[in-house]
């Protein structure tokens, strides 16, 4: 019985990944435009770092190279994190727009399967896109990764997945509750995360309340940890505190977000918000 149930849910989980793959393929032109946009954004940050020499730092100076690597790692990671966050948070908006939301919510599957299926598809796609951009960076910039500890970076990156999913699911509640304004609110959340998580600067430069918010953001630990690993060769043992914090945040955020999503779904059903729009 449990085996059958699990097989049923796994089948549906595969269905969500398969659906997203088909959608990405069908919307390939849009996806190419977004990829280009992401690439251009990251390159701009890279060239901004190169341009720092005009502010007094010598080209080739180790501080300049460090600054460039610092900013590029931030830009690349933000591209990945924001893309995954966007895909999860907009899963509901997208279904409203297509008009399929009622069919997905009527399907005999657990909401957890639905959400995890969407998350898995977003992660796979996000990693693929970030890898392509990363490859371009390696070719275009003379990056000094001689001190990098890739295993530590990978461990932090993997641990960051959980809290990232939690944040994404939390944000996807907004379009569920507010068909008209939820999408814009999700953009606002994304903007706040960019501000407080130290994507392009250490959070110590932020004023008190924003600094505190930065300490609570899982993205801060992801960015800090991966940067330390790539720039200064942070050891695997040294990465454990960041990995631990991220895992704890994930263990709290994922179930909490799924629970809140369930309550939001109940509310949407009470108020009649589960319908198409657009």
């Amino acid at each position: 019985m449990i085996g059958n149930s699990l097989r049923w849910e796994l089948n549906a989980f595969t269905g969500f990944i398969e659906r997203q793959k088909n959608l990405y393929r069908r919307y390939w032109a849009w996806e190419a435009v977004w990829l280009l946009y992401n690439l251009v954004s990251v390159l701009s940050i890279g060239y901004l770092a190169s341009g720092l020499s005009t502010l007094g730092l010598e080209p080739g100076h180790s501080n300049l190279q460090q600054a460039q690597l610092y900013l590029l790692v931030g830009a690349l990671l933000w591209t990945y994190l924001s893309m995954v966050f966007f895909e999860i948070a907009f899963a509901i908006t997208w279904e409203r727009w297509e008009g399929t939301i009622e069919y997905t919510f009527m399907a005999p599957i657990r909401r957890l399967t639905h959400l995890l299926g969407m998350c898995a598809a977003s992660l796979i796609y996000g990693i693929a896109r970030a890898a392509l951009i990363g490859l371009a960076l390696v070719f275009l910039f003379n990056l000094d990764l001689s001190h990098a500890n890739y295993w530590a970076a990978l461990a932090i990156f993997a641990a960051a997945t959980l809290p990232l999913l939690g944040l994404g699911i939390f944000t996807s509640i907004l379009p569920l509750l507010s068909p008209e304004k939820g999408e814009q609110m999700a953009f606002a959340v994304q903007g706040v995360l960019l501000l407080i998580s130290g994507v392009y600067y250490p959070i110590t430069v932020l004023p008190g309340p924003l600094h505190l918010a930065g300490i609570l953001s899982p993205l801060t630990y992801t960015l800090d940890g991966v940067r330390e690993a790539l720039l200064h060769g942070l050891s695997l043992t040294g990465a454990l505190p960041d990995v631990g914090i991220l895992l704890v945040m994930g263990i709290v955020l994922v179930p909490a977000s799924v629970w809140c999503f369930g309550r939001a779904e109940e509310r949407a059903k009470r108020l009649g918000l589960l319908k198409r729009s657009g």
């Binding site: 049923w8 269905g15 398969e18 069908r26 297509e98 399929t100 919510f105 009527m106 589960l274």
Partner: protein, 281 residues
Amino acid sequence: MAIRVSDLNAAAVEIESISKRFGQVGRMRQLMPWRKPTTPKLALDRVSLHVDTGRITGILGANGSGKSTLIRILATLLTPDAGRACVFGYDVVTQAADVRRHINRVSVEASFFKEMSPWENMLYAARLYGGGGDGTRSRVEAMLERLGLPLDTLDKPMKQLSRGQQQKVAIARSFLTSPSLLLMDEPTTGLDPRSKREVQDLVTSIRRDRAATVLLCTHDLQEAEVLCDRVVVIDHGRVLAEGTPADLIRIHAGPDGGSLEDAFMRLTGKRLEEDEEEKEE
């Protein structure tokens, strides 16, 4: 997964005095007195209904009569404010997961991922209902062939299909999951006569084979008369009458006899078209 008609003693649908009101002021809204007040609308008013297994029951009513609200409650997409609704004995609120395994729905608007093909959309639907393995493609092809849809449309984006073709894919999608209860919310509205006939023929074949219980919301009185075993007339969220089309005509159409339209007019005091006109205005 489908419940066989012969296996069941329970009613397909049992509704006891359900009510649903939209636009009520919630607790959050009460804290915001500056927001414009809304007028609550009573969509369903103590509706009770019994639908036998294996039958086609028509819900006849004008726009805003509460038909779609009723369907959406049975589809577990809306929760009633009061009362209880059960599908094959499962409560639509407390046992929603069990209900969902036995139902599917065809809505007036064919809802698909428009860039994806019919095959991709149907594969996605099949996956959500435990299917999608070997043989799914041939089942889909057979179903679409039966509905008169050219097979070369199977891999084209949905957006390239006509409205009628999209609706046929929607019906095929619902059948792919072998529902025991099929909720059809105005499935032929907006279709050309030929497509309408093909969809109606399919519903007729369901009745002949007793393949599923069907709850059919419609505007089309002729369609209701031809397809439905029983008809429920609903207006302003209340059930006005129910019975076989012949019974409704005999009792409500007037002393000289008449049609289901006459019975509907006498019951509601208006024609269905009047509501259409009101809405357009």
